[in-house]
């Protein structure tokens, strides 16, 4: 039992990482109803951008987060109209088409990344990535790596900012109206095209910043995207698709399950447990943990 505090802390920190992967993804789904298969690839591109900026300038990668956000915001803003076109088609099954479109994007991005960056794994050095905070008293011993703490703070700030933006600004009002009813929102004067572009831009920007963070905590590589796409899906579905407030809880649950399973059960069954839990929760509560998905 002496490990329990550490297990919980590890779970929370891991959960923080999953929040960063999934929060913006959930926002886009809520507004555009697109399951973006390229989420992992946006993360990967962000990670490499951070890697090279650090390599060229020698400055800490966290300094570049705003630059990377702006860069990828613009890219996302420019890509969105194509997705919008696919999704607003009347032929075939637009939902499926959107999904397949981003699937194609993901394959293309991976090919591009392998061409440009090569096959090797790498890592982004940061001043935070070395030390850790140690607590060792009253028979309890807890270690919190600084870089993971930074990750958690980043995750919570992004969540808070998005929450503020959605609830307190006019833009957020438009976004929420759009998520609730596309046509009615249009009638009320919400420019669905432009709002969609902003949202997608924000999502791509946040995902790219997340890539830098993941590069500092874990590793980077041209084929890393797929792994994170899986976790993004997991968290977003568990939270209820498009239900932003559910994301932190779902992410924490996923982190906790992984941490507890690795420490107390057979670690090789960790992913099995993760997928079985996701499946069962979906069956019991088809719209996510809180039943609030769209």
């Amino acid at each position: 039992m002496e490990l329990l505090p550490q297990a919980l802390v590890d779970g929370i920190l891991l959960g923080g990482i999953y929040i960063t992967i999934a929060i913006a993804f959930s926002l886009t789904y809520g507004v555009m109803h697109v399951i973006d298969f390229a989420v992992g690839e946006w993360i990967m591109f962000g990670a490499f951008t951070g890697f090279y900026l650090n390599k060229w300038t020698g400055l800490d990668p966290f300094i570049f987060l705003p630059v990377i956000f702006v860069m990828y915001f613009v890219i996302g803003y420019l890509v969105q109209p194509i997705i919008h076109r696919v999704l607003s088609g009347t032929k075939g099954n637009p939902f499926l088409m959107g999904l397949v479109f981003t699937f194609g994007l993901a394959i293309m991005f991976r090919g591009l990344a392998l061409t440009v960056f090569g096959y090797y794994s790498n890592s982004i050095p940061s001043m935070f990535s070395e030390g850790s905070f140690n607590f060792d008293n009253y028979g309890i011993s807890i270690t919190i790596p600084y870089v993971r703490l930074v990750g958690l703070v980043y995750a919570l700030s992004i969540t808070a900012i998005l929450h503020y933006m959605l609830k307190k600004t006019n833009f957020g009002l438009g976004v929420r109206a759009l998520a609730q009813h596309k046509d009615a929102a249009g009638l009320m004067g919400v420019n669905s095209k432009r709002t969609g572009s902003y949202v997608y831009g924000i999502y791509v920007g946040i995902s790219a910043m997340t890539g830098v963070l993941l590069g500092c905590i874990l590793s980077i590589g041209a084929q890393m995207g797929n792994e994170y796409t899986i976790f993004a899906f997991f968290v977003v579905v568990l939270a209820g698709m498009g239900y932003l407030a559910g994301v932190p809880w779902a992410a924490l649950l996923l982190g906790m399950v992984q941490s507890i399973f690795m420490i107390y059960f057979n670690p090789s069954h960790t992913l099995l447990a993760v997928f079985v839990i996701l499946y069962i929760i979906l069956l019991v509560s088809p719209r996510g943990l809180f039943g609030k998905g769209v």
């Binding site: 590890d10 891991l14 890592s123 690795m262 670690p267 090789s268």
Partner: protein, 416 residues
């Protein structure tokens, strides 16, 4: 009508492409056509491209010397690549294509054991010899494929040496935690370490297999609380990086950290920087290994220099193994006096000659087992324990091959 035209033109397109390659196939018989099946794309492309470097360097060197000298006449080699796409089915198709379309004389084999297992029955069927310079799963050799050989000894042959080296450290380590990723190669590595540790009376505090690509921090937190002297890990490149970073982040420095050969690759040391210092590894070749040879490269250092020149990378044991696979063929071909466009009879003789190969190369001694659980795997090599010391990778065990004394215990992460 449109449809018919579309279908017809598609069919014509494909047939033209097929016949076009038939034309290229007709070639003068002054060069050996060497098929190479390896993973140039997909999940295992990192490793596949390392094997490609090894095969390329061999072919380049042979051709620079005018070719393989067979009974006074020199024959050049031409490599024909077929991508196995990290998929066994594609590997089998690649073998079939190289054999039936390109009519290759012999084959240099895949990076991964999975693809090798799918390719081996196909080369057996067509009686085309294949030497792989990388695949090393014990499973391959247990199947006793007649036409398949490998230059890298199986991990259950090499792993024990590293544990033995660590047991010679002072103070003698008493406990070990072993973690392996759940893929064929990494799991076999972890199991080899476990068997060796148990045999050496090292207490195994934890033995865990984790799903590939996971964040192992929680597991390492548990390991930390057990305070093992040694931590051993079987995994692939990306997992090595994650593993070292996780250990560093939770701030636990074992007295010895043992990982498999992937750490000898420059990409690993680039990624983890100073945290890579003093990590132990298991391998059977390094660029500074004490080998002497009369074929192509006089010793390991000459090979490493050639590789550095060609690829800006001194090469690791996989790349070396691949070049050595080419040399093994070379020696066998000379012995039976085979010329390009071998008959089936000649290829059978060639296989018999490969079985008898016993030669000193830049890679060390190459000799394939002809019976037992290592059937057709190279058992001529001496397994090495290496350590990253500063910006160098040095051999620290066994004693006879030692280049520097091992540094033990490992320096604390935070005082680096």
């Amino acid at each position: 009508m449109n449809l018919r035209r579309a279908v017809l033109s598609a069919v014509m397109c494909i047939t033209t492409l097929f016949s076009a390659t038939q034309l290229f196939a007709a070639d003068a018989k002054s060069t050996f056509k060497v098929g190479v099946i390896t993973e140039l794309s997909g999940d295992l492309a990192t490793g596949g491209n390392i094997t490609k470097r090894g095969y390329d360097l061999w072919a380049q060197e042979v051709n620079a010397k005018g070719g393989i000298d067979i009974k006074g006449k020199k024959y050049k080699v031409e490599l024909l690549y077929a991508d196995a796409q990290s998929n066994p089915a594609a590997g089998a198709a690649a073998a079939e294509r190289l054999i039936t379309q390109e009519h290759v004389d012999f084959i240099l084999g895949p990076y991964s054991s999975g693809v090798t297992l799918a390719v081996a029955p196909v080369v057996d069927k067509y009686k085309i010899p294949m030497i792989t310079g990388s695949a090393e799963s014990p499973l391959i050799w247990k199947n006793k494929f007649k036409y398949t050989f490998g230059t890298i000894p199986p991990i259950n042959f090499t792993g024990a040496q590293s544990i033995k080296t660590l047991m010679e450290m002072k103070p003698t380590p008493k406990t070990i935690a072993i973690i392996g990723s759940n893929d064929a190669f990494s799991k076999a590595t972890a199991e080899a370490y476990k068997t060796a540790a148990e045999a050496a009376k090292l207490k195994v505090l934890k033995f865990s297999i984790v799903p590939s690509g996971q964040d192992m921090t929680p597991l390492l937190s548990a390991v930390k609380s057990m305070k093992p002297d040694i931590i051993a890990f079987g995994g692939h490149d990306e997992e090595h990086v994650k593993f070292v970073k996780a250990l560093r982040q939770i701030g636990y420095t074992p007295k010895g950290l043992l990982m498999h050969c992937g750490i000898t690759d420059k990409a690993f040391t680039d990624a983890v920087g100073k945290d890579g210092n003093q990590i132990f590894g298991t391998t059977c070749w390094t660029g500074t290994a004490k080998t002497t040879s009369k074929i192509l490269w006089p010793n390991a250092a000459a090979y490493a220099a050639a590789s550095q020149k060609a690829f800006n990378n001194p090469g690791d044991y996989t790349q070396g193994g691949c070049s050595a696979a080419g040399i093994a063929f070379q020696v066998a071909l000379q012995k039976v006096g085979a010329t390009p466009g071998m008959s089936e009879d000649m290829r059978t003789k060639l296989v018999a000659a490969i079985e008898q190969v016993d030669v000193q190369t830049f890679y060390g001694r190459v000799k394939f087992a002809t019976s037992g659980e290592f059937f057709h795997a190279n058992v001529g090599l001496v397994p090495l324990t290496i350590q990253i010391q500063g910006d160098k990778i040095v051999t620290v065990g066994p004693k006879a091959s030692q280049e520097a004394a091992p540094q033990y215990p490992m320096k604390e992460w935070k005082s680096r």
